[in-house]
């Protein structure tokens, strides 16, 4: 039997496996550090939680060739300007409620989750909620009694009552508003807001 060439030997591939894995992983770690610094709340791509005090829209950006969140002037949620800390507390309550009620096994958030109900990435901006003056109130009513306020567009598919309290509903709405301000590279595509074109 002839000698196995080095490029087919076990020891060569053992080293390859180790180096390729280590190299890829190292790159991933470096990219992770960079990404973390760019998605922390309070950066360009992911705004501060206090963005819920502002008007938010999602409009087509000519230079980017996709839609981008646009932050406008003051538009306090539930009629009150919150401090950064208060805003974070409210959004945190919203996020914890969203996990506790297992929303993501019906809905998608940022496109991840389940496909039984609408994507919530830009739900705050959905034209079905009407003008901003009534939006928080309508959303609160819906979240606290989705069955009674069902729309279903002829599908008969209703969201069940999940025992969401008024406080939790406000938290969820704050969370949804904050989430709609995240720069998601143009996802969802072609989403037309009530205010925008």
């Amino acid at each position: 039997m002839e000698q196995i060439p080095f490029w087919a030997s076990k020891s060569f591939w053992k080293k390859m496996a180790i180096w390729v894995t280590a190299g890829s992983f190292l790159l991933l770690i470096i990219l992770t550090f960079d990404t973390m610094s760019k998605v922390t709340a309070g950066t360009k791509r992911v705004p501060d939680y206090s963005v819920i005090n502002k008007q938010i829209d999602y409009r087509y950006d000519e230079s980017k060739h996709h839609s981008m969140p646009v932050i406008g002037g003051d538009a306090p949620l539930f009629g009150k300007i919150l401090s950064e800390q208060e805003a974070e507390q409210l959004v945190t309550l919203g996020k914890k409620t969203i996990q506790a009620k297992n929303c993501m096994n019906c809905h998608t958030l940022l496109g991840n989750g389940a496909y039984f109900a609408p994507d919530l990435t830009k739900a705050w901006l959905d034209p079905a909620w009407g003008p901003e003056s009534v939006r928080p109130m309508l959303m609160k009513m819906f979240l606290m009694d989705p069955e009674g306020n069902a729309r279903t567009y002829g599908s008969g598919r209703k969201m069940p009552n999940l025992g969401i309290t008024e406080q939790e509903a406000e938290g969820i709405i704050a969370f949804l508003k904050w989430m709609s301000s995240i720069n998601t590279n143009g996802f969802p595509y072609n989403f037309k807001t009530a205010g925008g074109q």
């Binding site: 894995t21 992983f25 960079d34 998605v39 992911v46 496109g111 389940a114 039984f116 279903t152 590279n185």
Partner: protein, 483 residues
């Protein structure tokens, strides 16, 4: 004359493995049942509304899947641990304890999912009811329990190998288990920031199924090929290293295909697109290699059903992960398919094709030994059963996959591209006749899947019972005569 299932045919590791396999099959059944319940709710939204809502059924469906597959993997490793290391298992009592603790924990978790379902928006809920993050919904206390049991498992594997032979397979397996358990930790903390949440969540999900699980299966396959086909160890181990290089080389940075739209920077569009487009290469490599092997072995083997399921694994992995994955992995199209039934189509075919198949193959290896190395070659008594089980399960899953593909195509077109993913656009997509009919077809093929599962269980219980012939003995592999 019949051959009983006789545990005296098994070594201690194998006796423990059989326990894992039994629970795996039960959870597989639970997966199918809750999948059906969730599927029915697409067709009849009032079905079990307010009693077992869609989110509960879906959670049990996908959790049962992850857990049964992990049980199958753990069982498979315990199965070959003693033979591979040449030693008795290091902590058998501990291993048994781990099994019962894990199984009790799984039972409690599922009972709470079904009976309590959801809680108020506080930390208690996340610790004791449900974490609300897809696939890793298990409450925090259970996460910790799972990690402890994984440590016991890891201890058993590492210590048994280090006392006996430390083979190439042992090395890859041990490191892969460290990675697999380590990744789970990335899913065990709370953050408010959803972009950061999703970033780490994908570490667990993607780096499990597209990296560490593939390599774990590679280890199991390596051992299986030696025992099923008689391939020489040196070759198998070289190929295991080649596979690790290819899988990790494309799969680790392929993670980027989940970072297109979650708030992370734009460079992920390129990294994710490029690396994940190369992820099918290792799968093509396996095809070439298996043709070479078939030339060497002429498909002579001692367990026909197991080999058939191994072949189903090769095809299923290629189709589900390779073809279905590639079709939606470039950001240019993922912008529309992201988070639609398209994803579900891929998820079903990939999980079934890559991981259900290989577990089932191993179940067949196990029952063969359990009945005292019974014949499972040509003209097997009652051999129609495993063939029909394989056929019906594959047909069922492929049928569901095609139905979801049509639904997903329509959804990404009507809802995502034209309608802009609003509330009303979502339902415009859901109410479209293509979608509605696809959901009905999914249920029809769901029943086919269930029928296949029924046959599979029946077969596993009786295969070889009425065989008198012992299994074929294998010769060392000849090298392919080559010019």
């Amino acid at each position: 004359m019949t051959r009983p299932l006789d545990s005296s045919n098994l070594n201690d590791g194998q006796k423990l493995a059989v326990k894992y396999f039994v629970v795996a099959v039960i959870l597989f059944f639970a997966q199918l049942v809750f999948g059906m319940l969730a599927g029915i709710q697409f067709v009849h939204p009032d079905f079990l509304y307010g009693v077992l809502d869609f989110n509960v059924n879906r959670m049990v469906h996908i959790n049962a899947m992850i857990v049964w597959m992990l049980y199958g993997f753990i069982g498979s490793v315990y199965w070959f641990l003693e033979e591979e290391s040449g030693r008795e298992i290091a902590g058998l009592k501990l291993g048994n304890l781990g099994f019962w603790v894990l199984t009790a924990a799984v039972t409690v978790v599922v009972a709470v999912y079904l009976l309590v379902q959801v809680g108020p928006g506080n930390d208690f809920t996340r610790w004791f009811i449900n974490e609300g993050r897809e696939y890793i919904e298990a409450p925090r206390w259970a996460d910790i329990g799972i990690v402890v049991v994984m440590l016991i498992f890891f201890y058993n594997v590492a210590v048994t190998f280090s006392r006996g032979k430390w083979s190439g397979i042992a090395g890859v397996l041990t490191l892969d288990l460290v990675a697999l358990a380590g990744l789970y930790l990335a899913g065990m903390f709370y953050v408010t920031n959803i972009s950061i949440d999703q970033y780490w969540w994908w570490w667990v999900i993607h780096l499990w199924v597209e990296a560490t699980w593939e390599v774990l299966v590679g280890c199991i396959m390596a051992w299986t090929l030696m025992h099923l086909l008689g391939v020489r160890r040196k070759i198998v181990e070289t190929w295991l290293y080649i596979e690790v290089a290819l899988m990790f080389g494309s799969g680790i940075l392929g993670l980027g295909h989940h970072y297109f739209w979650i708030g992370s920077p734009e460079y992920w569009l390129a990294i994710g697109g490029f690396f994940s487009a190369l992820e099918p290469i290792p799968l093509v490599a396996m095809v070439v290699h298996s043709i070479y092997d078939s030339g060497v072995h002429k498909l002579r083997n001692r367990n026909h059903p197991a080999l058939a399921w191994v072949i189903a694994h090769a095809f299923g992995n290629f189709l589900g992960a390779g073809v279905w994955g590639f079709m939606h992995t470039l950001p240019q199209i993922n912008l529309y398919t992201h988070g639609t039934q398209w994803t579900a189509s891929h998820g079903h075919l990939a999980f079934f094709g890559a991981y259900a198949t290989i577990n089932i193959a191993f179940f067949y290896l196990a029952v063969q030994r359990w009945r005292g190395d019974v014949w499972m070659g040509a003209n097997l008594v009652g051999g129609w059963r495993w063939k029909w089980a394989l056929g019906l399960l594959s047909l069922g899953v492929i049928g569901m996959t095609m139905a979801l593909l049509i639904a997903g195509y329509e959804q990404s077109f009507i809802e995502r591209a034209m309608g802009g993913s609003t509330w009303s656009a979502y339902f415009a997509g859901q109410n479209h006749p293509w979608f509605v009919e696809s959901m009905v077809w999914r249920m029809i093929f769901g029943w086919v899947t269930i029928a296949g599962f029924g046959l599979l269980v029946w077969d596993l219980l009786v295969i070889g019972k009425h065989e008198v012939r012992p299994a074929e003995t294998l010769l060392e592999e000849p090298a392919l005569v080559h010019g």
